[in-house]
Amino acid sequence: MITLQDEELIKGCLAGKRAAQNRLFDKYAPKMLGVCFRYAQTEHDAEDIMQDGFVKVFANLEKFRKEASLETWIKRVMINTALNFLKATQKLRMEADIDVVENNADIATSQYHDIDTQVLMQCIHSLPAGYRVVLNMFAIEGFSHKEIAEQLEITESTSRSQFSRAKILLQKKLDAITKYDKHYERRRVQ
């Protein structure tokens, strides 16, 4: 599960070696900043969350049981830090939905394959906080609605409806971008 390099890094970090901490940070920071960016409101919030997350990682590294990969563990720490940050700054407000929006319409993801990852992430990032968090947790991280409900202290139905709304909104944004690209290309051809 754990690579030899990670094993050495963990040993170094546990011994309080700054160089080992720096190497571990350099290795995982870009990916973790990407994770934090998906949850955070702004880029500097993401940077803050990532820094706080690494402080926790270094402080609690002895609690890492090596059951999963180090990356998965760090990612989990980052997600928890992000959720705490959003809760503390009251940026995570979810209105309990009375009507649960069910969106079972098929989404033809093939039309979105041309969209740049950066733009896709920007679209997720631009979603309202509640939608964004639930979409991230359910669709990307693979949490169940029950787990999301427990973590965010909401009901399962709220989680479901937030996800459905997030999906609809994201779809609209992606459609708009696709259409805009096509429109721009058409104009350029003309």
Partner: protein, 483 residues
């Protein structure tokens, strides 16, 4: 395509998504780790301080009880002088008894300590002289006389110990009688000498009545001393008090203009917008105040405090691209899709962003008045109002994060001596609510919540940056010593 496929699509893209952290990011992590350990140190310090205070409270309480005992033990000598040693024996006994150390008392008497013997002699001499100035030996033979007098003496001798004796009078009498007898027999010769030297005539000898009267009267000297001690150490009445405090919760609220682009407009445009945000970090201060009570309600005070607070400032330059796409509808006449409207959307792109930490250190000189509006045995509630002169003595500018290095557009941000652009001397107006809890007569702990704001804006030299008037909100917690 169902949910699962959509989720997989998002997951794949998210897994490959990375962002490069800023160059100073790891340094910021290290700084935060150090800050965390400092905070842990502060928590440990306060835990120790709290336990010390609690310990001091119990020690002071214990000393108080100890003082009562020692007063009782020391009393015989004092009273001996005042009333010719008539009650020393009983008081000494009572003192030992109060301490639960009768054995020690008896041991002391068995060794016939000279002082005790002398005291007993005086006591007996007085008793002996009382009925008819017949001589002690004769008096001694009449067993009932000493008994009754001793009993009276014991009962009235020390008001503090009356209850103790009443509880077990018979035992008290017999013990006291034994003591007197033992002392008298051991000092037979001394008794004669004392009688000859000390009580020459019947007039000189104090009567039983005078003895009792003298015993009943409170010692004015003692009373005066106690009173003066209480006055000296009374929280309410003491004239001067020194307050040492720590304010760990200073938060600074800074209202700053935050320009944001209105994207509700339907006009199609591209605009560059600069946005600001300031996050104010909690600061701390350490101070000393001297307070003078004018009366039970009003106090005035002055002091000196060291204050440290910081701001995280974020500034980012955002390019909003507003555009619209056609909304299509189906035209049944032409059997074609037609444009029915436009959907306006906006995609913000951060061109550059910077986050800096500005840490300022200042010396504060508060002058204030306090009004106590409610008091009970231990608690005091009041309000504070006054002014604080502050001077920024040092500052530090640290760049925490920069997506792109700040350009020359911002002189303030790129300056290494940013803190110097702030108005260094300020006068703040302060208001607060104070709670005082009396631990002992001399010591109390207090918490004072304060809100203060500078009369003028603290930033003056750079007109491009919005003016600042921070609001300091804090809770001063500390110890007050009364003199």
């Amino acid at each position: 395509m169902k949910d699962e496929e959509f989720n997989n699509f998002l997951r794949e893209r998210a897994d490959s998504f990375e962002l490069k952290p800023s160059s100073g990011s790891f340094a910021a992590v290290q700084r935060k780790m150090q800050h965390k350990s400092k905070r842990r140190g502060i928590i440990i310090f306060f835990s120790l301080l709290a336990s010390t205070l609690v310990g001091a409270y119990f020690i002071i309480s214990a000393e108080k009880i100890g003082n009562t005992h020692s007063t009782a033990i020391n009393a015989p000598n004092q009273v001996e002088t005042e009333s010719n040693g008539t009650i020393t024996q009983s008081q000494a006994y009572n003192a030992y008894r109060n301490r639960g150390d009768e054995k020690a008392y008896h041991n002391q008497n068995n060794t016939v300590d000279n002082s005790v013997a002398a005291a007993s002699v005086n006591s007996l001499a007085a008793i002996a002289a009382t009925p008819s100035a017949q001589g002690v030996k004769q008096q001694k033979k009449q067993q009932s006389a000493p008994k009754s007098v001793t009993a009276t003496t014991l009962n009235t001798g020390n008001s503090q110990n009356e209850g103790v004796l009443d509880a077990d009078k018979t035992e008290d009498y017999s013990i006291a009688e034994n003591i007197l007898e033992a002392t008298a027999s051991n000092n037979d010769n001394n008794i004669d000498n004392n009688i000859n030297e000390g009580i020459e005539t019947e007039e000189d000898a104090p009567t039983q009545e005078t003895v009792i009267t003298k015993i009943d009267e409170p010692n004015p000297k003692n009373a005066e001393t106690t009173d003066s001690i209480l006055k000296k150490c009374n929280c309410v009445d003491s004239k001067w008090a020194l307050k040492a405090y720590y304010n760990p919760f200073t938060a600074v609220y800074l209202n700053l203009a935050n320009k944001k682009e209105d994207i509700s407009s339907s006009s199609i445009a591209t605009s560059d917008v600069e946005e600001y945000a300031e996050e104010l970090k909690a600061g701390w201060s350490l101070g000393l105040k001297a307070e003078r009570a004018l009366n039970t309600k009003w106090k005035i005070g002055f002091g000196i405090a060291y204050n440290k607070w910081s701001i995280d400032q974020v500034r980012w330059n955002i390019n909003y691209t507003k555009d619209s796409t056609e909304t299509y509808g189906f035209d049944s006449l032409s059997n074609q899709s037609i444009v029915t409207g436009y959907t306006v959307y906006s995609l913000p792109t951060v061109k550059d962003s910077t986050k800096v930490n500005l840490s300022l250190q200042s010396i504060h000189l508060p002058v204030y008045a306090n009004y106590t509006f409610a008091t009970n045995k231990r608690w005091q509630f009041g309000v504070n109002g006054g002014f604080t002169a502050s001077y920024i003595v040092a500052g530090k500018y640290t760049e925490l994060y920069a997506k792109q290095p700040p350009s020359n557009r911002d002189n303030l941000m790129s300056s290494g001596n940013t803190w110097q652009t702030y108005r260094r001397f300020n006068v703040n107006v302060a208001l607060g609510f104070a709670i005082n809890y009396k631990i002992s007569n001399c010591t109390s702990v207090f918490a004072e919540q304060t809100i203060s704001a500078p009369l003028l804006t603290i930033q003056s030299k750079n007109a491009q940056v919005p003016a600042r008037r921070p609001l300091f909100i804090g809770v001063e917690t500390g110890v007050k010593i009364n003199f």
